[in-house]
């Protein structure tokens, strides 16, 4: 659709180049005389939503934006430790409300602007001062998740903003002040949604408006057409072909760190997991994410590289206590927990290396407790408990998502099928309901499903990112009211002392598993696949791969 005039002039050259390319299609890593290198094509599960990550809350947009924009803090390559990003290092005040970031020197944006503290603060101030449709949670999900509200909240339901100010104390020092400490910091500063854009970009988009109604927003042009947004990442965004669902990234040669191994990287959306695998096998793409567990072995045998990420997720069966009164009874919740053969799900459906989860976050996180109450697979006990509760003939609706795989949930339909068969085996009548992913999220969030499958991959290394997401306040997704738990959660989260906080988390985990708001099913390591001739980037448990680390094998 969008063509730069210069490309037209280059057309004959490009044609010649691609002819050669076709001739050497089998050896894609080879460079041809034109100096052009074959692009690295990665099959993603969906198209990106916006070029500006601030507006997004989905993994595919963030996979793209992490290559183009950078955040103040990052996670270590291949791990979950927080390290410096655009900020070389940082300090927090005693009470955890003042964060001082010492920026890297010599960082330039794609458009030539230089990174300084003013630029960082301009970004934060912009977000803080957004108004109108920008304040819809559809358009600023992560801002609201971390900082609560805006400078001027237009919706009374929004909490007061946690953000106070950002000051550039010197050229390379930005000081961000927040109202109170929360364990979401410093992890919050690493979220891809808070990718720093250049001052020129900010100027250009200052008047950009979101039009349309709730649920039917039309995003401003700069989020759709490359050319306006500029970050500091190892790649620049070259083209977003929306009808092909394809984003083309180019190596940014003035990147402050090691320049990217690939000259060109293309993210191409292939929603179907089978199609992704076939595309890799056919050589159409050179890597893809969300590999089905069953495909791992055949791919490895066929010579593909299928690195496995560390476990950093949890899959759970949620009990919504309001839609089905029986679920408000502890015995029923326990009965359902005993009824499900979680080991079988782990053994037969989840990828190798998965484990039955005993609590609502993986054991790789501090705060995991070895002493939580466990619920063994025991159908007889389940039946007894149901009998005791007077719900021997329980009927319950059970939702699962269709046409989707998540890192923690490879085959939702099969997992549903196994659980529902287990439940039926102890006398529960299951009414199946399936929804497409976005609709599913909406319905489960608003508490329309009594039982449903969902999970979470951590954004950063803190237990609160898991349990705090669900059990910090009364909400429709769970429909449970446990004020004590909520209070304890708030207290733990606002404790700046690392050790005390972790001990509190352990207690919280024990408490949660007593209450049993849902059944944690598993934590499993998701895989990602690459062609044999690719030197893949270090895989990240947080699914935050930095593709600049990848390159063609010599």
């Amino acid at each position: 659709m969008f063509t730069k005039p210069s490309r037209k002039l280059l057309a004959p050259l490009a044609a010649a180049a691609s002819l050669t390319l076709l001739a050497t299609a089998c050896a894609e890593s080879e460079r041809d005389e034109g100096g052009q290198e074959a692009p690295f094509v990665f099959g993603s599960a969906g198209d990106i939503k916006s070029l500006d990550p601030f507006l997004a809350n989905d993994g595919e947009t963030f996979r793209y934006s992490r290559q183009v924009f950078q955040t103040l803090l990052e996670h270590e390559s291949g791990g979950s430790e927080i390290v410096g990003g655009l900020a070389e290092d940082w300090e927090q005040s005693e009470d955890g409300t003042v964060w001082t970031f010492h920026l890297r020197d010599g960082v330039v944006f794609h458009d030539g602007d230089e990174l300084d503290a003013e630029a960082v603060c301009a970004n934060f101030d912009r977000w803080h001062n957004l108004s109108g449709p920008w304040q819809s949670s559809n358009n600023s999900y992560y801002w609201q998740a971390i900082f609560g509200g805006f400078a001027e909240n237009e919706d009374e339901a929004l909490p007061e903003s946690r953000y106070v100010s950002c000051e550039a104390t010197d050229e390379l020092t930005a000081v961000i002040t927040i109202t109170e400490y929360s364990s979401i910091f410093p992890g919050g500063f690493s979220l891809a949604a808070f990718g720093i854009m250049s001052p020129s970009t900010l100027e250009a988009i200052a008047d950009a408006e979101i039009t349309g109604e709730e649920g039917n927003y039309s995003l401003p042009d700069y989020t759709r057409t490359p050319g306006t947004v500029a970050g500091t990442g190892p790649f620049t965004v070259e083209e977003w072909n929306r009808d092909q669902a394809e984003v083309t990234l180019k190596r940014f040669d003035d990147y402050w760190g090691d320049t990217a191994g690939f000259e060109t990287m293309i993210l191409r959306a292939i929603p179907d997991e089978n199609a992704r695998r076939q595309a890799l096998e056919a050589g159409d793409i050179h890597g893809y994410d969300l590999v089905a567990p069953a495909d791992v072995e055949p791919l490895v045998e066929a010579g593909f590289q299928v690195p496995t990420r560390d476990v950093f997720n949890v899959l759970y069966l949620a009990y919504q206590q309001e839609t089905n009164e029986a679920l408000a009874e502890l015995e029923v919740r326990q009965a359902l927990a005993h009824a499900v053969d979680r080991q079988r799900i782990v053994d037969t459906i989840l990828p190798e290396g998965g484990e039955v989860a005993t609590q609502f976050h993986p054991d790789t996180l501090d705060g995991w407790s070895p002493d939580v109450t466990t619920y063994e697979y025991d159908p007889e006990r389940a039946e007894e408990l149901l009998e005791e509760a007077g719900h021997a003939d329980l009927t319950i609706d059970f939702c699962y998502p269709t046409e989707v795989t998540r890192p923690y949930m490879p085959a939702p339909r099969d997992i549903f099928d196994v659980i529902s068969a287990d439940l039926e085996a102890v006398g529960v009548t299951v009414e199946a309901k399936s929804y497409e992913w976005t609709e599913y999220i909406g319905r489960t969030d608003s508490g329309e499903c009594s039982l449903y499958l969902l999970g979470w991959t951590g954004d950063y290394n803190d237990a609160y990112n898991f349990i705090g997401t669900w059990f910090a306040v009364q909400n429709d997704a769970w429909g449970m009211d446990e004020p004590e738990l909520f209070d304890a959660m708030a207290e733990a989260s606002s404790n700046p002392d690392q050790e005390e906080r972790i001990a509190a988390y352990q207690e919280l985990n024990e408490q949660i598993m007593e209450i049993l708001p849902g059944l944690p099913i598993s934590s499993s390591p998701p895989s990602i696949a690459f062609a044999a001739n690719v030197e893949p980037p270090a895989v990240s448990p947080l699914t935050q791969e930095n593709f600049a680390e990848g390159s063609w094998k010599e």
């Binding site: 069953a294 072995e297 055949p298 037969t348 459906i349 068969a421 199946a432 309901k433």
Partner: protein, 348 residues
């Protein structure tokens, strides 16, 4: 999708309907007079039956069917399918939903269990007996096909029948009504059946009922057109003219004479629609608009669900695929053979 224009002009059998009418008569003078009219009509019909084909078209058609290999193979397949579907609970050795062998299959490691002594077709991806699922699935598939066809048949017959009757007998207002109905029908025909079904299904949300409704509704315009066409062609027949000349009431002509004689092509179409319904139902399942409960065996759902194992355990997809293809083929063969047998143009 399987209709051809020639199917719209199939004549029914003029000889079957009327003699039955001639029976109950002669009680009151009024009835007697009407009976006399009917008798005269029957006489006319008798003459018709005499001059042309002697035995009824149906009987000749049946004779032809018995000799047609197409019809026989179709009938055998359909009969087998019906038997399996009707006696599914007796045939299936195990429960179709119990994951009794759940610990023997590991889809995450591509470990599947193929045919063996206790499970004739092996196990499915969750350790259920595939043979039992296929057998019980036949029943669901039949249900979907029959209900969908019935929906299409009934609604289509109502629309098309009324339009046809109005066109033949209704005069100017009838023609207007016919025109209006046919506009709607044409519009519905404009939408490919599958798309029509998809929109209906997307509207109501995924369930087995949705599939049946959606596929059925998609068939309505075809049935309506067919019946109307047949009725109009019957309407110009001599016996209808004769009946009108004799002053038989219009409703009676339409219901007792034109309609029964026009049903031939519609019945043939029903057979073909069963095939289409089964295939379209499978497509809807693939689109995720089918039964949300995956444990419930239905061939379309099973096929759609097993696609992902096509390279590692192709049999899981191939069994239901073959079953669908063969069953649809059976109905199509039978329907096509019936159409050929009834169509004088194709008769040789």
């Amino acid at each position: 999708m399987t209709t051809t224009p020639s199917s719209q002009n199939l004549p029914g059998d003029p000889g079957t309907a009327v003699p039955a009418e001639a029976g109950g008569d002669g009680r009151t003078p009024l009835l007697g007079r009407r009976a006399a009219k009917v008798d005269r009509l029957a006489e006319l019909m008798g003459e018709r039956a005499d001059d042309g084909h002697g035995a009824g078209v149906w009987r000749t058609a049946f004779r032809r069917l018995r000799r047609s290999p197409m019809a026989i193979s179709g009938a055998v397949i359909v009969a087998l399918f019906l038997l399996v579907a009707l006696f599914a609970p007796l045939i299936a050795p195990y429960s179709a939903t119990s994951q009794a062998w759940g610990n023997e299959v590991f889809p995450n490691q591509n470990v599947f269990v193929g045919p063996r002594a206790e499970n004739w077709l092996g196990l499915d991806n969750l350790g259920r007996d595939q043979f039992s699922r296929m057998v019980v699935g036949a029943r669901q598939t039949l249900l979907v096909g029959v209900v969908a066809t019935l929906v299409g048949f009934c609604a289509g017959a109502l629309l098309g029948g009324s339009a046809g009757a109005a066109a033949v007998l209704g005069g100017r207002r009838g023609a207007w009504y016919d025109n209006a109905v046919m506009r709607v029908i044409d519009m519905m025909l404009a939408l490919p059946t599958l798309l029509l079904a998809v929109t209906v299904a997307a509207l109501v949300g995924p369930s087995l009922t949705t599939v049946m409704l959606a596929v059925g509704i998609a068939q309505v315009p075809i049935f309506a057109r067919l019946l109307r066409g047949a009725m109009i062609s019957q309407g110009s027949r001599d016996y209808v003219l004769a009946a009108r000349a004799l002053g038989v009431r219009k409703r009676r002509i339409a219901l007792a004479h034109i309609l029964p004689n026009s049903l031939g092509p519609v019945i043939v179409q029903s057979t073909l629609t069963l095939a289409t319904a089964i295939i379209d139902a499978a497509a809807l399942s693939y689109l995720g608009l089918g039964n949300p409960d995956p444990s419930f065996p239905e061939w379309g759902t099973m096929l759609a669900d097993a696609q992902r194992f096509l390279s590692s355990a192709p049999q899981l997809a191939v069994y239901p695929a073959l079953a669908i293809i063969v069953t649809a083929l059976g109905f199509t063969l039978l329907g096509e053979a019936m159409r050929e047998a009834l169509d004088p143009k194709l008769r040789k």
